[in-house]
Symmetry: C2
Subunit: 428 residues, 2 copies
């Protein structure tokens, strides 16, 4: 039976509040300094890729498969073996892949910039339009929303459930409104909700008939191989090949990178898209750069070889990450047994646990935790304009801290949630 | 005494043409395949930096000076030691420097994109203006002009002499026309003319009072340490510190990269500017990327250490490049002794020899050489819209070919120039 806090007797809640207050004062004396903000790999995880620093040395051969010396200019599209490797991660042949620099966010930004400056495949540049709008499944990734905000693109929240975005709403909006030019999707182990889009949702995506010809699905497959379990993995159907079959080949840009496979910030980013889209993007690339870092491309291929190399690396990451996710889930289960104060996801992959404070106290909780020396991602970050309409969502990033620090942080978080929720119920 | 071809007797010229024709037919039989197009380092030069592949290995420490682990996200501005190293190349303190990815062209492109989308330091975004114009000292770098063309920016040619651009013209235009927003400058060992701007020219640049508040000098110091000689080096005064002294601190963006110091395409690019400009650019960076490749930044610092390391590397490059430049100059001297057919520069650094066909036959010469299997940069490339108004300029890139190939190529080029020039004089 679930405990419904708003129905509990005032006297009980007041007593509970006092005892929580005492506990929180004790925490304060500990002078904690924990950072739970960032979905970044831990040092242990970084150490997994150290072998990458040995695969190229002064005795190495730097000639790639098509005979080009990787140490000099050229190969705007990326070296063939790297297009193949990233293609295996993306589940598409090398011809559909362009290799970029170290940041897939940068590729997304540049795609929007391209549309803004030149227009997508011959359509009017967005800078010449009065209004550009974008669909944002929520909760979502703050850096996506920041790109929209930067370009003055109006964002529309799209609710999500365990199957993905609300497709009735998506279909309705894109079919009517020509100013809607895109949608952000993290379709697998979504940031932060952890869900993977169902086959039906993906099929409804590729069947979209947007009023705007230059509408694109920004399919940020950041966590495609980032499973936590060997035996429980989400499955996502490959959107670009399905879109082609559905006669809607140009509707999607698909992004990925190796940033949480090898070293974050020193990885390889890639874009996959239809031939028409790639031609369009290459016009931009060819003016923008003399080409991307091919030595680093070669380094990745020499280290990982192929998808098996990637998979075996991801198992090692999972072995480090899994206990941390499970620890957070266990503590939350224990602390909120039969309580209606929170709900949270149990992701099978990715980097986040998404927690909802059901009494709408997310901001207060994060601020209070901050006072106690525990930094969480600012409440609202997972929503456009930093505005969580229900003030519920807190993104927990279990990857970086040590497991003993996680334990402290989630216990403090739990007590703070109880404290702030009771205050809300009591109206104080 | 100089031989003035147009004054020579027709009979002599016809005879000369016949003998040249024979020679050119002989060349044709050789089935030559030489590429003189690209200003890229040779394999020998690339080999100089192979030690860079050994400075980081799986046993290395990846912590940079401020304690950040270079293997993960963060440090948007670049790691401190890399800002210092690039600062030494740029001749400015680290605070004035931002580190980017592998391509300074990309940094320039992004600065223009930023101005186009958001405007420079609060000014109207260029996308909202009817007309944007740009000054282009000629001959210049084709990739600069391609950026303007891509953004629909109207380019205005500015003649250059051995001291730099025609500053009377620059001053006059920028003081009158608010739509002029920038000028491309390669101020040292200029591409392709090889000249270095005189102190007076730089001082007139920093004293400019443009009508447009968002006018910026794009100071592409690509060849700052790329000397060919120990004992004859050009000297360029440092523009940003001088602009500050002249109370005009925001007028210039200064760019550089290590691409012709270490590996082209796998180097480090940097921007130097006033604090106001850097703040403005960082707003863009912070949305565009999660940060640039810090492992590669660290690799460069561990390999070069400081400016002495850079200088000693550049001496080795010079030892490989110098004989090639001298060979081209010797052959041209010999083949055009006392002739008025060509003029060319004798650069003390950089990557190019700029040759003028004084009888206006550059296009014909390059096409003819192409037929004989020798590829030169397309005539006109060094001018906006690929339009060399006098059809004179050919850019010779001596760096890549072997010296014996250079010898053949320049001899063929010489005979083709003679042949095409005589045809021009004879009106055939």
């Amino acid at each position: 039976m679930t405990l419904t806090y708003k129905n509990l007797p005032t006297e009980f809640l007041e007593k509970e509040l006092d005892s929580l207050n005492e506990k929180l004062n004790e925490y304060k004396k500990l002078n904690l300094r924990l950072n739970m903000k960032r979905g970044v790999p831990s040092k242990e995880q970084l150490d997994l890729s150290m072998g990458m620093m040995d695969v190229l040395n002064s005795e190495s051969d730097f000639i790639c498969e098509d005979g080009i010396d990787c140490r000099t200019y050229g190969e705007l599209e990326g070296i063939p073996e790297c297009r193949r490797l990233l293609g295996q991660i993306i589940e598409l042949p090398p011809e559909n892949i362009l290799i970029f620099g170290n940041s897939s966010l940068n590729v997304m930004f540049d795609c929007v910039a391209h549309a803004y400056v030149h227009g997508v495949m011959g359509n009017t540049p967005w800078s010449k339009l009065d209004k550009v709008k974008w669909l944002c499944p929520v909760p979502g990734y703050d850096r996506h929303f920041a790109i929209c905000e930067f370009f003055g693109i109006e964002m529309i929240n799209i609710p999500m459930d365990e199957n993905g975005p609300d497709m009735d709403m998506v279909e309705d909006l894109v079919s009517k409104d020509e100013s809607i030019k895109g949608i952000w999707c993290v379709p697998k182990y979504s940031n932060p909700s952890g869900i993977t889009y169902s086959e039906e949702v993906v099929r409804r995506f590729i069947a979209l008939k947007p009023k705007a010809k230059d509408f694109r699905i920004y399919w940020d497959n950041a966590y495609s191989v980032h499973h936590l379990y060997e035996d429980k993995q989400d499955y996502l159907i490959e959107i670009i090949s399905e879109a082609k079959k559905a006669n809607n080949p140009d509707i999607v840009y698909k992004f990925t990178s190796t940033n949480k496979i090898s070293f974050p910030g020193s990885g390889i980013a890639a874009l996959a898209a239809s031939p028409n889209n790639l031609e369009d993007i290459k016009r931009y690339m060819a003016v923008q750069t003399i080409g991307y870092d091919k030595v680093n491309q070669l380094r990745h291929v020499r280290f990982f070889h192929d998808l098996n190399g990637i998979k075996s690396m991801m198992k090692k990451h999972a072995d480090i990450l899994r206990p941390k996710f499970e620890k957070v889930e266990q503590i939350l289960d224990k602390n909120f047994l039969n309580s209606d104060l929170i709900s949270f996801n149990r992701p099978r992959g990715g980097y986040f646990i998404s927690l909802n404070c059901e009494y709408g106290v997310a901001k207060e909780v994060v601020a209070h935790c901050n006072e106690l020396g525990i930094a969480f991602t600012p409440a609202g970050s997972s929503y456009p304009y930093h505005n969580d309409p229900e003030n519920k969502n807190i993104r927990i990033a279990p990857s970086y801290p040590k497991i003993e620090d996680l334990e402290i942080a989630i216990n403090v978080l739990s007590d703070v949630i109880k404290y702030e929720s009771i205050k809300r119920v009591l109206g104080i």
